[in-house]
Structure formats: structure tokens, C-alpha cells
């Protein structure tokens, strides 16, 4: 049994310690908002926050995050920044297929959490590991600027 703290709740999971956090969230805890895209830390669709910092859940063994604070898309709206980002995403209708968007939003929330007024270059730096096959990048950029404005 491994104990992890997900979205403010302590959860016991009976998995082998090498199981990536992604599959614990999705298959053991039913938190399917966090997606699988590559399993190799190459696409960012599995991004969650661990102690407030973005992390690729597919490449993180669950044993490595025992006792740390994990936040997923399901509770993104509980922070002011998370709410602002979701709101901006909806105002601009960023999503297309939507499959990458949990990861995009978690990366954007982390960016705005540490930088309230990101430049385009800051956005490129923070977001270039988050792939979107539908290429919604024009709107992702605009939505991050919009969220920043609403937080100012």
C-alpha cells in the first residue's frame, strides 16, 4: 500500500511502486481528466502539479510522490489562477478535440502561478513541451494573456 495526497485527500493505493502516477490517477482512483499521450514525458498531456510545480505523471513512479501534494485538473478550479485560466479558455473557445487540454491548462496554471505577466517568450518556454495535435496554439497563447489580464 502506498499513500498519496491527491486533491487534498489522502488515498491508499495497492499498486507496485514503479507504477507511474498517471495510471494510479486514472485506473486506481478514476481521475480520468489527466490523459495518456506518450508515456515518455514527450507530450505533456499528463501534466499534474506536485507541490505546485508541473510534473509529467506518466514518467513519475507513484513511490516518488508519496507524501507530496498532487493536484489534478479535476480541482483546477479551486485556485484563483486555475479558475481564471479555465475562464479564459472558455471565453476564447480554445479547445478542439480537447484531449491535450487538461495538460495545457495545468501547464498554463503553473506558469501564471510563478509569473503573473508572461511574455510570448515566457509562454514559449513554459508551454513548448505541451503538444496539441489540433494545433490550438494561437488560442492557447491568447488565453494565457487573457487570464493574466484578468488576474492583474
Amino acid at each position: 500500500m502506498i499513500q498519496i495526497n491527491v486533491n487534498g485527500k489522502l488515498r491508499q493505493v495497492d499498486v507496485s511502486p514503479d507504477t507511474p502516477l498517471l495510471w494510479v490517477l486514472r485506473d486506481s482512483l478514476g481521475l480520468t481528466g489527466t490523459k495518456y499521450g506518450c508515456g515518455q514525458a514527450l507530450c505533456g498531456v499528463c501534466t499534474v502539479h506536485v507541490d505546485g510545480a508541473p510534473l509529467r505523471a506518466c514518467a513519475t513512479p507513484v513511490s516518488a510522490v508519496a507524501g507530496r501534494k498532487i493536484t489534478t485538473i479535476e480541482t483546477a478550479d479551486q485556485s484563483r489562477v486555475g479558475k481564471a485560466v479555465q475562464e479564459a479558455w472558455r471565453t476564447l473557445d480554445v479547445v478542439q478535440c480537447g484531449y491535450c487540454q487538461s495538460g495545457q491548462i495545468m501547464n498554463a496554471v503553473a506558469l501564471l502561478g510563478r509569473n503573473r505577466k508572461p511574455s510570448d517568450a515566457d509562454i514559449d518556454n513554459a508551454m513548448s513541451g505541451a503538444l496539441c495535435r489540433c494545433a490550438t496554439y494561437v488560442r492557447i497563447r491568447a488565453a494565457i494573456h487573457l487570464a493574466a489580464k484578468s488576474l492583474a
Partner: protein, 738 residues
């Protein structure tokens, strides 16, 4: 009173006929997939007490004022749910805020694609085009019945009643009712035989801003994709596929796989060996532990370079004629000068962000499927065959697809069949979720075919274009598929040559011919914009080269040759104007070279022109700074979605132009994940401007048409910057180094 059935089990028995505008009656409210939360979304009507007005197969109005539009087309990102709902809500005069969308069940008697005869499915960018009349009718019928119900209640003439945003009013007496308050009564009204449709000038949603219906659930993690389905007792299956196309299982040793905790079964299926487990990670570990002995005696063993070399050889000989007008040979014999070029296109993977997956469960009624379902009728019949069922016993829950770009519209239902074979191999004892890991998805084939194009143009002494020869070499997508009889004529696969055989330019003598090598056994499939994904490049880059050779402006030459094609010319002029084509481009940083390029192309009956501005650095690396797009897709139903689709298409096409390439070595696919098959990233995304040409033509597609012009516009810009046209995709920086 007409029919007042309360129906609890299935809606399949009524509302027969394509339009389904037959009866008014009650239906129980149905759990919407998006609202079903963690439970498996299902199209099965849940019994509920709320009576509902459902005048046809596409609409339900609840007493709670909810307006539910039943979408027959897959939502895979292209905005179909929102677009379909917009059309219906327009004629119904619904309040957009109360409109919700639900995926239709698989039932081609009601939900067939009207452009595909009796088959239900999504593709060819035709969701809006084939639904336009149908859903306007459906909405107008609902509205007329609500109006007659109000007229009867208020005892006033129907023509004195107005409807706006979900409220039915009688202005002379200042009475008003919400849709919900009339739903019960409207259900008793006779369905009118004929209804009047709105004059487009009265549209309040079409052409205005109707926000996407899936934005909320796709930004809070609640949208349900196939990957997210969990059923009681469900097994997750990960499959070991052969390393080469055409190889089969000779034997396997499952001892180590079975020892992995969580693994429940290891079974052989026609496409490989499946490892089933209680969860995804255990299934993957089980497969890693599996050892399979492959019989490769019939495997395909060529590499990309060898295939390409063969194609170049084949291009030296005439192929089957796809288009012939005038006398090309004569024009070339009489030419003052001849321009030639050839272009090579690689295999491309769709690489949808959600890898292919499918959930199937056998039950007493037959089987139930959860899938980002794009080909209902084909998949139903395949599954019926495997399980010995009638097609209507195959119930399909159409979920959101995490992208498709053609991949989920597989002509032989490949991954759906694989899931079924696994269910069959375990005797139907558990529901199975087939999960392809990224490497499985990338290496499974069903690629955009590799193509080689060779073109020649004849010019007379005045530089006038008198002859055009275009030869294509590449695998047929449709040969051997159920579509062959419909779309392959005299050996010409229509989707190999689309965009080339209908070249719009006024050239008196044209010949287009095709080789479709049958011995290349790489599975190929339509990939966003299909034939136009390569034909637009070949034709538009070559025409640009011709313009350059004849010292003519690329826009001016195109316009000269497009006299008979006003819609092509319309978007071309608009793109030129908005991009300041006539003004020279500002120069870039020292050492860099900048250029502007244009392309125009029609696909899926929509017309798109793009002007790209490109900076080529001294090291040859290519940065696309800005793309100006002009679009004519008929009546613009959701202008913002059109912009969104074209922005996305620019990124998707640029991804292929800069990075996209699946290569085979000795028959083995080299790339397995996003390290080898790079996708465009946010820092490479250009600024995109989308201008929509006002139109009163019928709406046409927008999911695909933004793709074809991008790569040629960028290539032509590269040539403007460097003097050199890229002839091989993806672009290679070393070719443009100073």
C-alpha cells in the same frame, strides 16, 4: 390525440425514415454522455419522469426548457456538435444557453450521412453540408409545433405568434411561454407536412457567435473519451503487434507475462498476441514480458528509400489517365520552353493525441461498444460478422474522439475489429478496453501514402502556359476497401488524384496520369485533406515555379488562369489584399532571408487561399512568421469555429511540412513516439489571420480545407527568400543553408 407513447427501452422502433419527421410524442429524458460523469456514458435511454417533446430524431425539448440536439456526427475537435446544434437551434429559435448536444446512436435508418447513401459516419468534411437542410427542417418543425400548441392554448391565430430565444410570445395580448411550458402540449400537435425556413437575413445564430458546447467539459477534465471508460470487471488489453506488416504469430511464450501481477489472460488474435490485465500498466508490463516468435516469411521488407526509388522509376512510364483535355503531346512538341519538376511526399502518421482505443462488451442483447465512433455502419457490420449478430444488435456509444484526422475512419475497422477479436478470444467473459500505447499507434500503419509527383509545363514564345502534364505515383487508399466500387473508376482511385485531376487553371492541353503500385504492402488511409495533402503542394508549387520562369507575379498569373473560377479567384484576391501582397516584405535580422508565398486550393467544395511569410536563417532553418488565410466555405455557420479550424489546419499542415515523416527501414517503422515523429510546438506556431468571404452558397466543409494550401504557400515563400523550391517533404534545413 396522436401518439403519446412513453418509451423506456429504445427509440429505434419509431422515427423511421431519414428525416424522421413523422410523429410527435413523449420520450423519457436520456442521460447525456457529458452529464453522465464517471459512469460509462451510454446511449441507452434512462427512465425518467420528465416528459419530453421530441418531434423528430434530432430534437428533444424538456419541460425544464432544455433543448437537446442529437448529433449524428462525431465530435473529434472539428466543432461538429456545436455546428449541428447551431443549425437546428437557429430554426427552432432556441435559447443557445439551454441547448445541449448528445451523440446519436448507431442507426443508419435515421442518422445516415445523406452524402453517403445508407451509411452512417463522419468524414469528407461534410457534417454541415449534409445536415444543413435536414437540421433546418428539424428545427423549423419543432418550432411550428410549439407555435401551434401556443395558438391552441391562447386561442389566437398561429401567425400572430413570435418565437425568440426559447420563448413563444403573442405580442398583441402580451402573453408568453417558455418552450418547457409548451413541451407537453406540443407533443400532441400533428407534425406539419411542410414548414417555412427562415430567410438568411433573419438568422440570429448562424453567422453570429455561438460558443462551443464542449468547452466547459473539455477544460475541467470531465469530457469522456474512450480511454476514460471504466466498466465493472473490465480488462485492459495491450497487444504485441508484428514488427513488420504482413508478419504473423508462429508461437509465443506467455509464462513471464502471466506472472506479472494484474495480468489475467494472454491470447492470440489474428493481429498478434493480446495481454489482458486489470489495469493499463499491468497490461503493458505483461506485454513487455511476453516473447513472440513471428513468422515473417510473407512480411513486407522494403524501406522508404527503396520504395521512393521504385516510384521514381515508375514515373518514367505513362500511367492510367485520370484527366485528359486538349492534346498535351502536341503542346509540348510545339513549346518554346518546358519547365519540369518532381516532388516527393513521405508516409505520415495521423498521431491523434488520443491513441486508438475501443471498449467492447458482450451482453444478452448483443454487444455494446464505446468508441470515438466515425464509421458506425461499417463498424456495426464488421462486429456483427465477428460475433454472429445482426448489425442492429451492435450498440455503439459515440464518445468524443481525441482527434482522428481520418484515422478513426479506417476502411476496414482495424482497431475496432482487434478489440472484438480479443473479446471473442476470452469468450466474452469480460468487457475489454483495447489500448494502443503511443508506439503501437505510430507503428500500426494506416498512413497517408507516400507519393511521387512529376510535372511538366509547356510555354509558348510569349510565356503563355499551353500544356500541363502531371504524373502521380502512390498507393491507392481505396483499392480493396468497401469503397472501391464507388470511388475507383477504371483503375483510378479518386482520392489519389483529387486536387490534380480537377486543376482549375485554364490551360488548353492537360494530361494527368497515375500509377498505383499494388505490391507495396504498407497500410494506407485518408489523412486530413486526403489526396489534396499532396496534390495541392505539387500543383501550387509547380505553378509558382512556372510563374517565376515566365517572370510573372504568382498572384497575377493565377488570377489570369482562374477567369472561369470566381470562388478560387475570390479567396485569392482577398488573401492577397489582406497580406499586402503588393507591398514588399520587411527584411529580417542580418543574415536571414525573408519571403512571401501564396497558394490557393479547393477541397471538399471549400476554397482556401493562404499567404505565408517566412524567415529562413543562415543555417537554413525555417520559421513561418505569419499566415493570412481567406476562406470561402459557403454560408459561415459558426465563423469563430471556421477561424479555429483554419488556425488548427495551419498548425497541423505546418507540422507535416517541417517535421512529418514516417520512414521504413527493411520494412520496420523507425519512429515510435514524439521524439522521432515530431509535432509542431507552440514556439513554431505562426500568427494566423483568417478572413471569411461572405457567401450565400450552401455551407461546405472546414475541417480539412485549411490544410492543403499551407505547405505550398510556405514552400513558395521559401523560394521567394532563397531562390530554391523545396521538392521533398518535410523541408530539410540543410538545403537552404547559405
Amino acid at each position: 390525440m396522436p401518439n403519446r407513447n412513453i418509451e423506456n427501452a429504445s427509440r429505434r422502433n419509431f422515427l423511421q425514415g431519414a428525416a424522421g419527421l413523422t410523429l410527435g410524442f413523449y420520450l423519457p429524458a436520456i442521460a447525456a454522455p457529458a452529464a453522465a460523469g464517471k459512469a460509462a456514458p451510454s446511449a441507452t435511454p434512462a427512465s425518467a419522469d420528465t416528459p419530453t417533446f421530441a418531434p423528430n430524431a434530432f430534437l428533444r425539448v424538456g419541460v425544464d426548457n432544455s433543448v437537446t440536439v442529437i448529433a449524428k456526427h462525431l465530435e473529434m475537435g472539428q466543432g461538429s456538435y456545436t455546428g449541428l446544434a447551431t443549425i437546428l437551434a437557429e430554426e427552432l429559435d432556441a435559447d443557445w444557453k439551454t441547448v445541449r448536444v448528445e451523440g446519436a446512436p448507431a442507426d443508419a435508418t435515421r442518422y445516415n450521412n445523406l452524402f453517403w447513401g445508407p451509411a452512417q459516419g463522419t468524414g469528407g468534411s461534410n457534417a454541415m453540408a449534409n445536415s444543413w437542410d435536414q437540421l433546418r427542417q428539424a428545427g423549423a418543425t419543432g418550432r411550428a409545433m410549439l407555435v401551434s400548441a401556443a395558438a391552441r392554448r391562447w386561442k389566437v391565430p398561429a401567425k400572430e405568434i413570435t418565437v425568440r430565444e426559447g420563448i413563444v410570445s403573442h405580442p398583441p395580448s402580451k402573453r408568453r411561454l417558455h418552450f418547457g411550458e409548451l413541451a407537453e402540449a406540443a407533443a400532441s400537435e400533428a407534425v406539419p407536412a411542410k414548414v417555412a425556413l427562415k430567410d438568411p437575413k433573419d438568422f440570429r445564430l448562424v453567422g453570429k457567435h455561438a460558443p462551443r458546447k464542449d468547452s466547459v467539459d473539455k477544460t475541467n477534465g470531465r469530457a469522456i473519451f474512450t480511454q476514460d471508460i471504466q466498466l465493472p470487471g473490465m480488462r485492459v488489453a495491450v497487444v504485441a503487434h508484428p514488427p513488420r506488416f504482413g508478419a504473423t504469430v508462429r508461437g509465443f511464450d506467455a509464462k513471464a507475462a502471466r506472472r506479472v501481477k494484474g495480468v489475467t489472460d494472454v491470447v492470440q488474435i489474428p493481429t498478434g498476441v493480446a495481454v489482458l490485465a486489470t489495469d493499463t500498466w499491468s497490461a503493458k508490463k505483461g506485454r513487455d514480458a511476453l516473447s513472440v516468435d513471428w513468422d515473417e516469411s510473407r512480411a513486407f521488407r522494403l524501406g522508404s528509400e527503396e520504395i521512393l526509388a521504385r516510384y521514381r522509376e515508375m514515373a518514367k512510364l505513362p500511367g492510367l489517365v485520370a484527366h485528359k483535355s486538349g492534346d498535351a503531346d502536341q503542346a509540348f512538341a510545339a513549346a518554346a520552353s518546358i519547365v519540369k519538376a518532381a516532388y516527393d511526399f513521405p508516409y505520415l502518421a495521423h498521431a491523434a493525441m488520443e491513441p486508438m482505443d475501443c471498449v467492447i462488451q458482450l451482453n444478452a442483447q448483443g454487444c455494446e461498444v464505446w468508441n470515438g465512433e466515425q464509421m458506425h455502419t461499417g463498424d456495426q457490420s464488421q462486429l456483427a460478422g465477428i460475433f454472429g449478430l445482426k448489425p442492429e444488435q451492435v450498440k455503439i456509444n459515440m464518445l468524443y474522439a481525441g482527434g482522428s484526422f481520418g484515422r478513426r475512419a479506417s476502411t476496414d475497422s482495424d482497431y475496432v475489429v482487434e478489440a472484438a477479436q480479443i473479446v471473442k478470444a476470452i469468450g466474452g467473459t469480460a468487457p475489454v478496453k483495447l489500448v494502443w500505447l503511443r508506439e503501437d499507434d505510430m507503428r500500426a500503419g494506416y498512413y497517408r501514402p507516400m507519393f511521387h509527383h512529376a510535372l511538366e509545363a509547356a510555354l509558348d514564345a510569349n510565356g503563355k502556359l499551353t500544356g500541363w502534364r502531371h504524373r502521380l505515383v502512390g498507393q491507392s487508399i481505396l483499392a480493396g476497401s468497401p469503397f472501391e466500387s464507388m470511388m475507383v473508376k477504371d483503375g483510378i482511385d479518386k482520392v489519389s488524384v483529387e486536387g490534380a485531376d480537377n486543376l482549375p487553371y485554364a490551360i488548353p492541353n492537360k494530361l494527368v496520369d497515375l500509377h498505383s503500385p499494388p505490391d507495396i504492402k504498407v497500410p494506407v488511409l485518408w489523412w486530413r485533406s486526403v489526396g489534396s495533402s499532396h496534390t495541392a503542394y505539387a500543383t501550387e508549387v509547380f505553378l509558382d515555379l512556372v510563374a517565376r520562369s515566365a517572370k510573372k507575379d504568382p498572384v497575377a498569373l493565377r488570377l489570369e488562369l482562374l477567369a472561369g473560377h470566381p470562388r478560387h479567384a475570390g479567396v485569392l484576391k482577398l488573401a492577397a489584399e489582406k497580406s499586402d501582397w503588393a507591398t514588399p516584405l520587411k527584411s529580417g535580422a542580418p543574415g536571414s532571408r525573408r519571403g512571401r508565398g501564396v497558394a490557393v486550393h479547393e477541397s471538399f467544395s471549400s476554397y482556401v487561399a493562404q499567404v505565408a511569410e517566412v524567415t529562413v536563417a543562415a543555417d537554413g532553418s525555417i520559421k513561418v512568421d505569419r499566415v493570412v488565410c481567406a476562406v470561402d466555405c459557403g454560408i459561415a455557420i459558426n465563423p469563430d469555429n471556421i477561424r479555429s479550424q483554419v488556425e488548427g489546419a495551419v498548425g497541423f499542415a505546418l507540422s507535416a511540412a517541417l517535421h512529418g515523416e514516417i520512414t521504413l527501414k527493411d520494412g520496420v517503422v523507425v519512429q515510435g513516439n514524439f521524439d522521432g515523429y515530431q509535432l509542431l510546438r507552440i514556439d513554431e506556431m505562426p500568427k494566423v489571420e483568417v478572413h471569411i468571404l461572405p457567401s450565400s452558397e450552401r455551407p461546405t466543409g472546414i475541417g480539412e480545407p485549411g490544410v492543403p494550401p499551407l505547405a505550398p504557400a510556405v514552400a513558395n515563400a521559401i523560394a521567394a527568400a532563397t531562390g530554391k523550391y523545396p521538392t521533398r517533404l518535410p523541408f530539410r534545413a540543410e538545403e537552404f543553408r547559405v
